[in-house]
């Protein structure tokens, strides 16, 4: 029970952007993941990427209301990293030295598939953002990604007032929407 509480506290910490929780998870898990990846045809840098991806999956999970910890964080991260790495090796058709299972694993295939679909959508959005041109790109990023307020943005972009900025933002959103959905429908079909 105590272990469970500790782990649950780490998950809550993740959801609240607590760097202490992140650090603890790194200290307890990173080296296992790195040796697994290096021993399976990867570089330490690959381990950094894979571990970050797994942390993002865990982070997004921790924020969903329905989330409940069904196994140890260690087991979960190892399972996710192992799966992500296997997929990467397959995708790049790199020599795959019969991946071994050191620790127990849990089924994460569906979650990873969903995560990859979400990442692909996100990639389309980032691509669309890069294509709308300035000042739209900076304006939308300031508002939606850096979460600046309209008055702040008006000042930053030298609009006479927040309403002007808002109007400009609307025009940019129309542009973004057009580019985003044309690409999105190309990728996902027209359902």
């Amino acid at each position: 029970m105590k272990l469970y509480d500790e782990e649950q506290a780490l998950i809550t910490g993740l959801a609240n952007h607590d760097t202490n929780a992140i650090e603890k998870i790194y200290r307890e898990n990173y080296s296992t993941i790195q040796s697994f990846i290096v021993k399976n045809n990867g570089y330490p840098d690959d381990a950094r990427d894979i571990f970050q991806e797994a942390m993002i999956i865990l982070f997004e999970k921790s924020k969903s209301e329905s989330f409940e910890l069904t196994c140890q964080i260690k087991t979960y991260l190892y399972s996710v990293c192992r799966r992500l790495w296997l997929k990467k090796l397959q995708r790049e058709s790199r020599y795959n030295p019969a991946i071994d299972t050191v620790l127990e694993t849990v089924t994460v295939e569906d979650e990873i598939e969903l995560h990859e679909k979400k990442n692909s959508d996100l990639g389309i959005m980032e691509d669309a953002l890069s294509k709308i041109g300035e000042p739209c790109k900076s304006l939308l990023e300031a508002f939606y990604i850096q979460k600046k307020t309209m008055p702040e943005i008006a000042e930053l972009f030298a609009y006479t007032n927040a309403d002007n900025a808002k109007n400009q933002k609307y025009k940019c959103m129309v542009r973004l929407k057009k580019i985003f959905f044309s690409q999105y429908k190309n990728t996902n079909g027209n359902e």
């Binding site: 952007h17 760097t19 992140i22 650090e23 790194y26 200290r27 990173y30 080296s31 790195q34 040796s35 697994f36 290096v38 021993k39 045809n41 990867g42 570089y43 330490p44 840098d45 950094r48 970050q52 942390m55 993002i56 982070f59 997004e60 924020k63 020599y95 030295p97 019969a98 071994d100 050191v102 979400k118 959508d121 996100l122 959005m125 980032e126 939308l140 939606y144 990604i145 850096q146 979460k147 808002k166 109007n167 609307y170 959103m173 129309v174 973004l176 929407k177 985003f180 959905f181």
Partner: protein, 368 residues
């Protein structure tokens, strides 16, 4: 029209952010229900806003991850990025390379009998492209050749056991004359069946009693009752570390026949500063994995495990120190007491004499 849509965009955003009062909210929901077009725009915009929000969340979270990684990099808990040299390591075991072994077996036969196989040898590049069916035939053929070879090599041949349908081959050697063999974890990894075979071709079934991918060591136990205990293994396993340029040599099975190679110790640490390994300079090939690294005094200082792909002769060997902890683990976990040889009878002998005393204890490790 444009103005209307502007208002709509704004409403969607406020609705999504929970910024609407109850009345406005109800009104807006009613509007969506009654106007499929508005509902469609609302759904699309909501989707976009969710995407943008996710980008924002992930960016923010990644910043935190990088912050933590930087801290841990400074403490050397994790290694620095961008050390990538373009090289990577490969394990030195033979897998799915039957044709190489076939070619080697054929070459042996050619040298001892007739020249009729010559064309086969010169065409062994083609053999690699043969279909699996033909490959099976080659495997059977190889088995026969091996049997002939063993009979020729060893007139008092012990009965040759039914050969094993192996799909990988590497090296291992005795730690303890009672039948404990050390090799690499990546060699026996996932193997269903394991056998070890000495240089005379006598095979013994074996099982893995220790397998640790973290130090890349595995210990096998010979389970065959026909195995006769060996006393006085000639080599020792020093705990001390060795100096750069120390001359070293190895014995292993990159092919069916035992092969000798020599080199020197080139660094105190292995791949990416791994302190549990040495870097050595030696010419090795797939199949050498699990082979002993010996000094001129016949001390085993490491076990060959991998080499870098893009640099010639950059080979990594697990330090012998790790064997001690592996033996401890076996003792604790399975109550098996493995005793390493305590006295060295190779010191002072010349290399040829040393090899003659060692090569009986270096085994092929095969399995599937």
């Amino acid at each position: 029209m444009e103005m209307n849509e502007n208002v709509l965009f704004d409403a969607i955003e406020r609705y999504r952010n929970g910024e609407m009062g109850p009345e406005e909210k109800a009104l807006f929901e009613e509007l969506r229900r009654k106007n499929p077009e508005i509902d469609q725009v609302a759904a699309e915009n909501s989707f976009m806003l969710t995407e943008l929000d996710r980008i924002s969340q992930i960016k923010k979270f990644k910043r935190l991850l990088n912050e933590v990684e930087n801290k841990l990099e400074n403490e050397e808990v994790i290694s620095e990025r961008n050390k990538k040299t373009g090289a990577k390591i490969i394990y030195l075991w033979n897998r799915y390379r039957r044709t190489i072994a076939v070619a080697a077996a054929i070459a042996v036969l050619v040298s001892i009998s007739t020249a009729t196989f010559f064309s086969v040898v010169s065409e062994n590049k083609k053999a690699a492209a043969l279909t699996p069916l033909v490959n099976n035939k080659l495997v059977q053929f190889e088995r026969k050749l091996n049997q002939i070879e063993h009979k020729l090599n060893d007139a008092a041949a012990e009965p040759v056991k039914p050969q094993f349908e192996a799909n990988f081959m590497a090296t291992g050697f005795l730690l303890d004359g009672k039948g404990y063999i050390i090799t690499n974890a990546h060699v026996v990894n996932n193997a269903k069946n394991l056998i070890v075979e000495n240089k005379k071709g006598v095979q013994y079934s074996a099982k893995s009693i220790y397998n640790n991918p973290l130090n890349d060591l595995a210990i096998l136990q010979i389970t065959d009752t026909s195995f006769k205990k060996v006393t006085n293994l000639p080599y020792t396993f020093p705990k001390t570390s060795f100096d750069l340029a120390e001359p070293i040599y190895t014995l292993g099975y990159p092919r069916e026949e035992i092969v000798y190679g020599q080199g020197y110790l080139s660094a105190q640490s292995g791949y990416f500063g791994d302190t549990t390994s040495y870097q050595i300079s030696i010419s090795v090939n797939p199949g050498n994995s699990g082979g002993p690294v010996l000094t001129r005094n016949g001390e085993i200082i490491g076990i060959i495990s991998s080499k870098e792909t893009k640099a010639d002769g950059v080979v990594f060997a697990v330090k012998s120190e790790s064997i001690y902890s592996a033996i401890e683990a076996v003792k604790k976990g399975q109550n098996i007491n493995i005793k390493l040889p305590s006295s060295n009878s190779l010191k002072g002998l010349d290399r040829v004499q040393q090899i003659k005393k060692i090569d009986d204890y270096v085994y092929k490790v095969k399995g599937n």
